[in-house]
Amino acid sequence: MADDKDVLRDVWFGRIPACFTLSPEEITEREAEPYYLLLPRVSYLTLVTDKVKKHFLKVMKTEDVEEIWFEYEGSPLKWHYPTGVLFDLHASNTALPWNITVHFKNFPEHELLHCASNSVIEAHFMSCIKEADALKHKSQVINDMQKKDHKQLWMGLQNDKFDQFWAMNRKLMEYPTEEGGFRYIPFRIYQTMSERPFIQKLFRPVSPEGNPLTLGDLLKELFPAAICVEDEPKRYQVIIHGIEPLLETPIQWLSEHLSHPDNFLHISVIPAPSD
């Protein structure tokens, strides 16, 4: 029988095939070929696109190049969301590969964060992990770690080292047996239909009576519309890592197994395809 650990591997090694094309607005010396790449779902766009940048810089003049940013069908892609979340939110149910447009000009200041270097990504990643551990363990685990342990988490992600990352990350996934789960579940619910960036609230994995709570319970409280009512057509898809877990899946299990490396459970709610 498949083991729960296999889920961790599947999640980590999830890849999205992407086709990067240069925006037609960019001025090039010669025509730029599209660039094809397998993007790790759990990583960040700007962290894994050095090759893309290099590829397109070859056909451009230095003076025409500003900060790189990506766009899909008119929406700028927020690099500080994990790549898989961006894909699930904007491009699930579309044909693969994922067509991403690359820009070097007109940075949408109001919609995107600047990403000058990898250290910005690292800072963002570590702050997410810390926030998650504040929710899970009142920050006790992350604070007990040493600087090099933090580095190991980041290096694991940056270099796509599953073992290196999980050797440390497993500590963040521990909890006292008698409590049946984390203190609160670190999660974020994303939606395309709203201006709100995401929904995030305090939510415990276990009810006061000691019953484990489920994904359904979470949605019922925070996004009731996402729960499909009997005899009505499905209005929304609830997607985590490109799959739709059943609503009775315990939220604690999801948090342990389907969280991103930043220790958050990123849930995308998108309108169901009409047919």
């Binding site: 290096m155 484990p212 899946t249």
Partner: protein, 1213 residues
């Protein structure tokens, strides 16, 4: 909170369930399993009981007829008692040996001493609860040796030394006759005849049993105390393992009229006097379970007398007439009176202390059973009362049917049915809860049942009154049993979690509690609750006010308006609850079934593995991978793989002299090959003469990583084949335990990756155990047993599996059993990892909590001098007055620590009487001088004495092991199967820790734990057993003789009789192992013996042939391969004890082999190769003329030549 061992992933504690017993106000006895969720009515015998007192093996009770009854729980091992008598004969020239004795001689039939006349006809069954097993027969076994037919032993005269051989001067002879009787009345209440007491003037009123921890296991004495209605106290003497009924009631004088008595598992006995004072029994000990005298302790409250007392091992709880609960501080074995009372929250009518000092009580207001939550060894007073709210089996039909219908309707997420249970967590008394519970019951029943009268008096008279006018009520109640339809309470019940986490010393004064308005406090509570959950979360310590308020709410609730369970008595003496155990007792009946299914969905209990949501995730993930990656594998990866290095600081045990710990930098470089395979290199950077140097080792050459936790350092040893030959591993020490475990887990994953090993051990796996109880497993290859050129066993790669065991046995069908130091039996779940292997190196579904208990021993030494006798003042040349067994190391009670930080003390120091050769009454052994041979009685020639003190320590870890309750084992064996052998039922034999031979039924490769034990009778206790591939069962008795079991086959799994096999001359055998055909034994002097002349028609064989010395243990496999644990193996750098060795040159034609091949060690204790049935491809080779260099040939190869060095036994022996 999240430090070290306290935190673990979900490792369910699958403990064997045990029973809590209670009597309801109608006198019906119920039991509640720790694994269960409802009270089961004990329907046997149509008896009503006033009181019961339970322990694990049996339950005593006072029935309404005022007689005392005993219920011995059925066990797979019967209670058998061996009666013996001797037939004596004298030789005369006319008749030869005859029963005509001299007038001065003993009786023709006598006991062993000859002083008492004991004819066969004089033996009567002690009561009708016993039956004879068979007729009398002669015992032909004489001290491990076989006598001639008839069992006669000869001597010059009575009384004298008997020998089995008849000599010219043998004038008398005697023969031992034995017959077994068996206790037959199990699982039934049997009346204990009171005839013996004769003069008993009045009926019994209270009863309490305990004392089972005072004497050691084989004796198993019990103390039973009883109180008569007139206040006299009686002690039942002679209750022990072989005599569950005891022999006689003895009156114990008391300085007043006693109303109730309580006896703990240890040496605590307290009683309550009628006028409210308490009595404490003193002088209770191993030789005097009855104790010697009483001491009076004042009632907790001078104005209000005590009415009830309950004692455990280290606790005393009492209830006063105003129903207040009190906890006695400072109670222990040395100070049974304790030091002071602490008032506790709650109003109770009675309290009972069970195993582990866990506490149960019956509430005064509601007569509900309460469990004291949070009782641990460090916090004996616990935290809060929690009401046990489960249904009785008679109530079940309503609740379960309603729940089922809900489930089938698929209403899990419907709006109207609330999943939350109705106030499942209640601490202290809460009227809302009760109402909710009550409402679940059908209304019709409520109407018919009359109100029980609850007079507010002491619990005693309360029960007596109920019992006396009980008849009519029961009759009417029974009529009302079938009930109206299901009802689910729809109203919101206030969820209150007013846990009384404050100081346990909260005392409520009546005026305070009486003055509060229930309505107000109710509101206040809810607010307090919202507030805490909104902000502080875990720090939801409610103020003392809230607990006062909750508590007080009960005052206006009248009785009897609802029919909930009303209890009169509870006994937890047979109920093993641990602080980390999950109990399902605290949910209301309506939500039970729902909760149950919810849990099954969420926790990783086995059904959850098949839960729809999990399946869905697995399927969707693999679909996703296919969809998103399958057609795009030619795309470039965004991140290129590179080398990853992990570094750390450690200490290293320097390879050269002078050996010492030096600071080093330690680094592991890992890299993936082009084909995706992984490998790594270990570097140790050290400084030598101001020069930086390093030592390295390839990960794929590492053969084993051995953790060596000891008091002072967190060290581990790294072996390669080369270092195994040298008996000189790389020894490293990490700064902290956690750091060591991180490194070990990482290195282990890295080693397994480089060898492509993952997942659970195969069925063929070879298992071994170190003397620290650590478990290792190695995957054999076909070449391992190839002949004549097998893989050298120092090349074997071992990986660790979590858990702690002393013995492990397996076979090639994947049936793996282990036995812990505390004799608990464990079965392998098929998983891997556990222990410090968390996360990736461990399976998640089948890892459980495992505990083990062992004793640490120290010796108290004394020397005699003419003035003061024995004192602790020795000669200057003497050993320490407190030392280890050798006398070389000082070990005092205070400076002796548990073996490693993983162990914690769980008992105090006690004198150990179970020492070989025996002790005197105070545990002393005497000798002429240190060190010398000790004996148990003092003689004139003795000038020194010593006694052994034992202290128990406990280890809690995790591993792929599940307990097989309830019988503790000392040895186990599984039938080894050939490569093509398929047996449906796998024969598995074991020896219980009492020496009983047991045969496990129902063992298959799918159900390796089997179902039950079949007891196989023996005339004496056994200690080792082994079954061969064709069902040949060999065993070793405790006296060192061997036995062969005749006629064992797949059809007749238990065989028919034992054949005594004489042991090698002058040797006491210790262990046996039987392979395909070979039979090997090890004796107590370390000799390895091979059984000659074993043939299919004569399986007993003819004689023992000596193979080797210095052998500790042997394991013979299904290919007749012979592996041993050997002592004194010489490596090139050092000597090791406890080394895994394999016999070379074993062929079907030459089963004895010719020489040894040395593997991992020292510090190894056990190995089993009985799973490895992988035959090597046969290569025809000319016979070997010389052996390779490291194989010393011939017998007795295991000799020490050089000076041993410290490093040889990093694990320590």
């Amino acid at each position: 909170m999240l430090q070290g061992s306290q935190v673990s992933r979900i490792h369910r504690c699958i403990m064997p369930s045990s029973l809590l017993r209670a009597v309801d106000v109608y006198g019906r006895v119920y039991s509640l399993s720790t694994a269960g969720q409802q009270w089961e009515h004990c329907r046997d015998a149509h008896l009503e009981f006033k009181r019961v007192t339970a322990m694990q093996q049996c339950c005593w009770g006072i029935a309404c007829d005022h007689n005392i009854y005993l219920n011995v729980h059925a066990s797979d091992v019967p209670i058998r008692y061996q009666e013996e008598t001797y037939e004596n004969q004298r030789w005369n020239p006319v008749d030869g040996f005859s029963d005509r004795l001299l007038p001065s001689d003993r009786w023709q039939w006598s006991d062993a001493t000859g002083l008492n006349h004991q004819p066969l006809s004089g033996f009567q069954l002690p009561s009708e609860n016993w039956e004879w097993e068979a007729d009398w027969y002669e015992d032909e076994n004489f001290g491990g040796e076989l006598t001639e037919k008839g069992g006669w032993t000869y001597a010059i005269d009575f009384p004298a030394t008997y020998t089995k051989d008849k000599k010219w001067n043998s004038c008398v002879r005697r023969c031992r006759w034995i017959r077994y009787r068996r206790y037959k009345s199990q699982d039934a209440w049997v009346k204990i005849p009171s005839e013996q007491t004769g003069a008993l003037p009045d009926p019994f009123n209270d009863i309490s049993c305990g004392g089972w921890e005072i004497t050691e296991e084989p004796r198993g004495c019990l103390a039973l105390w009883a109180v008569s209605l007139q206040g006299k106290v009686w002690f039942r003497s002679g209750i022990h393992h072989h005599n569950p009924e005891g022999s006689v009631w003895e009156e114990v004088p008391v300085p007043g009229e006693v109303v109730q008595v309580s006896c703990g598992p240890g040496d605590l006995v307290w009683a309550v006097l009628w006028e409210g004072h308490l009595l404490v029994r003193e002088g209770i000990g191993r030789d005097c379970l009855k104790g010697t005298s009483w001491v009076t302790v004042e009632s907790p409250n001078p104005g209000v007398g005590a009415v009830h007392v309950a004692v455990g091992v280290n606790v005393v709880w009492a209830v006063t007439k105003d129903h207040k609960v009190w906890f006695r501080r400072g109670v222990n074995s040395h100070n049974p009176c304790g030091s002071g009372w602490i008032g506790m929250v709650g109003e109770m009518v009675m309290i009972n202390v069970g195993l582990n000092d866990q506490v149960w009580a019956i509430g005064f207001e509601d007569r509900a059973v309460y469990f004291r939550q949070g009782v641990t060894a460090s916090e004996l007073s616990g935290k809060a009362w929690r009401v046990v709210s489960v249904s009785r089996d008679s109530d079940r039909s309503h609740s379960s049917s309603s729940a089922n219908s809900l489930q089938s309707a698929g209403c899990f997420f419907g709006g109207e049915v609330r999943l939350e249970s109705q106030a499942s967590v209640v601490s202290d008394i809460d009227p809302d809860t009760e109402r909710a519970v009550g409402e679940v019951l059908p209304a019709s029943e409520t109407e018919v049942t009359p109100k029980p009268r609850i007079p507010k008096v002491t619990s005693d008279s309360f029960i007596s009154e109920l019992v006396s006018d009980r008849e009519g009520q029961i009759g009417r109640r029974d009529v009302s049993a079938p009930a109206a339809g299901p009802s689910i309470p729809e109203e919101e019940s206030a969820e209150k979690e007013a846990e009384d986490r404050g100081s346990p010393a909260q005392v409520l004064s009546p005026s305070q509690s009486g003055g509060l308005d229930p309505q107000w406090s109710n509101v206040d509570l809810e607010e307090a609750q919202t507030q805490t959950s909104g902000t502080a979360g875990d720090t939801a310590d409610t103020s003392s006010l809230s607990s006062v308020a909750t508590y007080n709410l009960a005052q206006e609730e009248p009785y009897g308006t609802d029919e909930h369970q009303k209890w009169a008595w509870v006994s937890g003496g047979g109920c093993a609850v641990d602080s980390h155990m999950q109990l399902n007792w605290f949910n209301s009946s309506a939500s039970t079934a729902l909760n149950c299914s919810m849990q099954a969905m969420s926790l990783s209990i086995t059904p959850a593995q098949t839960a729809a949501w999990r399946k869905q995730i697995f399927e969707q993930l693999s679909e996703r991978s296919k969809r998103e990656m399958e057609n795009f594998t030619h795309y470039e990866q965004a991140i290129e793989q590179s080398v990853w290095v992990k570094k750390g600081s450690m200490q290293w045990w320097r390879d050269w002299k002078p050996h010492k710990w030096v600071d080093v930098q330690f680094a592991l470089e890992q890299f993936s090959g082009a084909d995706g395979s992984k490998d790594g290199i270990l570097f140790i950077y050290y400084t030598f003469n101001d020069e930086k140097k390093y030592l390295h080792s390839f990960i794929n050459e590492v053969t084993i990583l051995v953790p060596v936790l000891n008091e002072s350092k967190h060290t581990f040893a790294i072996y390669t084949a080369e270092r195994t030959k040298q008996r000189w591993p790389i020894r490293l020490a990490a700064a902290a335990e956690l750091e060591m475990h991180d490194w070990l887990a990482l290195l282990s994953v890295s080693c397994c990756d480089s060898r492509g090993i993952q997942g659970p051990p195969s069925k063929q796996a070879i298992w071994s155990i170190t003397c620290k109880g650590d478990i290792f497993v190695s995957e054999p290859t076909k070449e391992l047993e190839a002949s004549p050129y097998p893989t050298a066993c120092d090349q074997m790669f071992w990986r660790q599996v979590g858990g702690h065991l002393r013995i492990i046995e397996s076979n090639s069908l994947g049936v793996v059993w282990g036995i812990g130091y505390d004799h608990t039996a464990w079965v392998h779940t098929g998983g891997y990892g556990g222990g410090f292997f968390q996360g990736l190196a461990s399976s998640t579904d089948n890892i459980y909590t495992q505990t083990d208990v062992k004793s640490v021993y120290i010796y108290e030494n004394q020397r005699w001098n003419p003035v003061t006798g024995y004192t602790n003042r020795g000669l200057p040349t003497d050993r320490y007055m407190w030392s280890d067994a050798s006398g070389l190391k000082e070990c005092t009670k205070t400076n002796t620590k548990p073996p490693s930080p993983n162990w914690t003390w769980v008992s105090d120091w006690t004198i150990d009487y179970a020492v070989a050769v025996g002790t005197d009454r105070e545990g002393w052994q005497y000798a002429a001088d240190f060190p010398a041979s000790y004996h148990g009685n003092k003689t004139l020639k003795d000038f020194v004495r010593r006694r052994r003190w034992a202290r128990k320590c406990k280890l809690t870890t995790t591993g792929p092991w599940q307990e097989v309750p309830p019988i503790p084992l000392s040895d186990v064996t599984v039938l080894p199967c050939g490569p093509k052998n398929t047996v449906e039922q796998v024969p598995l034999w074991a020896i219980s820790n009492k020496g009983d031979v047991l045969c496990r039924l129902g063992v298959t490769s799918l159900t390796p734990a089997g179902s039950s034990w079949l007891h196989v009778g023996t005339d004496q206790p056994f200690k080792s057993i082994s079954i061969g591939a064709v069902h040949q069962v060999w065993a070793i008795a405790k006296d060192g003789s061997a036995f062969y079991r005749g006629s064992v086959s797949a059809e007749n799994p238990a065989g028919d009789c034992w054949y005594h096999i004489p042991s090698p001359a002058g040797q006491k055998l210790k262990q046996v192992s039987v392979g395909r055909t070979s039979v090997y034994t090890v004796d107590e002097n370390g000799n390895l013996w091979y059984r000659q002349g074993v043939t299919p028609s004569y399986p007993q064989g003819s004689s023992w042939e000596h193979i080797s010395n210095n052998v500790r243990k042997v394991s013979v496999g299904p290919l007749d391969q012979v592996w041993v644990i050997a002592d004194k193996v010489q490596g090139s750098h050092s000597l090791s004890c406890g080394t895994v060795c394999r016999r070379l040159g074993v062929l079907p034609t030459e089963p004895k082999g010719h020489s040894w091949d040395y593997g991992i060690g020292g510090g190894w204790d056990h190995i089993t190769v009985r799973g490895n049935a992988m035959e090597a491809p046969r290569i025809k080779m000319p016979p070997l003329t010389d052996n390779s260099s490291h194989q010393t040939s011939g017998r007795g190869p295991l000799q020490a030549r050089n000076q041993p060095e410290m490093n040889g036994n990093p694990v320590g022996c």
